[in-house]
Subunit: 354 residues, 2 copies
Amino acid sequence: MMLPVGAKIGIIGGGQLGRMLAVAAARLGFDVSIYCPEADCPAGRVAQQQTIGRYDHLPSVLDWARSCDVVTYEFENVPVDTVHYLVSSGCDVRPGARSLEIAQDRLAEKAFLRDAGIETAPYVAVNGPQDLARALTQLGGAGILKTRREGYDGKGQLRLVSGDDCEAAFSRLKAQPSILEAIVPFSCEISAIVARSITGESLCYDIPRNHHVEGVLSRSSVPSGVDQTTEAKAREAAICLAAALDHVGVLALEFFVLADGSLLANEVAPRVHNSGHWTPEACRTGQFEQHIRAVAGWPLGSVERKYRAEMGNLLGHEALAPFEAAPAGSVITLYGKREAKAGRKMGHWVRLVD
Amino acid sequence: MMLPVGAKIGIIGGGQLGRMLAVAAARLGFDVSIYCPEADCPAGRVAQQQTIGRYDHLPSVLDWARSCDVVTYEFENVPVDTVHYLVSSGCDVRPGARSLEIAQDRLAEKAFLRDAGIETAPYVAVNGPQDLARALTQLGGAGILKTRREGYDGKGQLRLVSGDDCEAAFSRLKAQPSILEAIVPFSCEISAIVARSITGESLCYDIPRNHHVEGVLSRSSVPSGVDQTTEAKAREAAICLAAALDHVGVLALEFFVLADGSLLANEVAPRVHNSGHWTPEACRTGQFEQHIRAVAGWPLGSVERKYRAEMGNLLGHEALAPFEAAPAGSVITLYGKREAKAGRKMGHWVRLVD
């Protein structure tokens, strides 16, 4: 069912993605309510309403959710139990708990990807230092140790080779359930950003190539320069994953591209994605509006791309002088974060080329 | 001086123009505070803060304005006294009182335009039924009676010919100070939308052709189809007017185009304008962002147009099924107004053509 104009969309989470979603929702005439633990968050300042509360305080989340016509989330670490509770209490939450579950646990994520026929780098589950030593041998003497939960932007990761102190390494990551992932010699990284509607209609944006610095996305550019067969495979994989999850909304799937053009899926984000921040400027419908359309039960908009585009993040102090940090003629978006901490994502620029 | 990222921009007025300005400001990382008499107004729902108060309640407006780093307005009927009071109390208000004064009084407006060397249709001031009869004769037996104040979208206007009951006509418009304007045989209507920065830098958008239905803007399309010399004259006039007013921000000047290509200025709007609603989609920098940049003391953005564009208003119930009312593939913007009253501007669509 299509939400009527003027309906209220609830967003769990108050960061920049919530802010850009809120603005896109407002543009379609929706009211927006934000649920997040921090007062004065970036999304709350552009929303009609904000409720301050813990994500795991079920009565408070439910109270808030009941004031909304549909609930979505802007980050993948919303407690799965919270979403289950909302759904079992009769709330519409889009995307659902399944998309969160696999995005929160690297082991479940990789298993789900493989079950869906999407290849990943080889990996081994690691629950202790002994496992880790065994896993290193199994993967040929090198790997990246990653916690199963809560890692993002390269946090919670360690690069290891045979002979490293497995005990120390495992405790560096706070002795959490982890995986060891094989180091793959990729030639570049790309991502597929797909939107799926409540009727199962799926549209994938053109594929950006992504450049990271110290594990944090630095730039995305489109077209990717990767050959079209590879791009088509990436799009198909993302569409197939969204269908397997019965996902409603936008979802991003990151890939390593190997020298022979084959793809290894790296990470799933069950939400709008940093590597899609060029879409509002370069495409008929941007990823934020697309996500809102999907969760509101509206038809998706065209993802046709009109420009070549490059997107760069403004980190820390760069955002205080954005016109100096961004290429001339860029479109600047700033997130309204109060403190320009080093490395913090404060905004981004998009440069369009005809 | 450039306002720093994170500064607070105050907007007097809570309608759709305020809403679109607030969203554009948020995107540049500013906080927004709305001052308007109605709770739950379209702009308030996308702003960080809203103060509810009367426009002529000076202590309340000043209190609010002091919480903002700069104040602007989204409609031209803000009391001039209020702006004078804010400025004399040390607040930065952009644009200033002069732009309001001429936009609020058709007689002052026309006189100012002529003083600035910008031609208008012939007109005569009318302060009573006797004036009216005389004015009708003076203008050749026909004219449009318009109240000097508070008319918009064709309200407060009457078409008259010699022999009409001048007494009745004058009291139909509530016996207010008015003007009688000659009826000009124009071939089409266009508008010039110009932005002027605090340093006097001025940029004018490409000229749209405007189509009205019952005095209300229905569609704007760009390019206008009018010849380039005429368009250049319109742009020059708008830039010259903005300079004469020492205007800071966006300003629109509407024209009648006569059969010989000459121009008669019709109306000034000291703000973003309905006939510029295609600019965010079709140009590098939209009129809302441009206005915010200007009032924040930032450099203006490029007004380069990338597409042919058509914009149409969604009136009344059209906004409840926007995808049916708008051409396929349009970008839809809805204003979040609660009641879809007949004829009310509820949203708009923009269709882009490569």
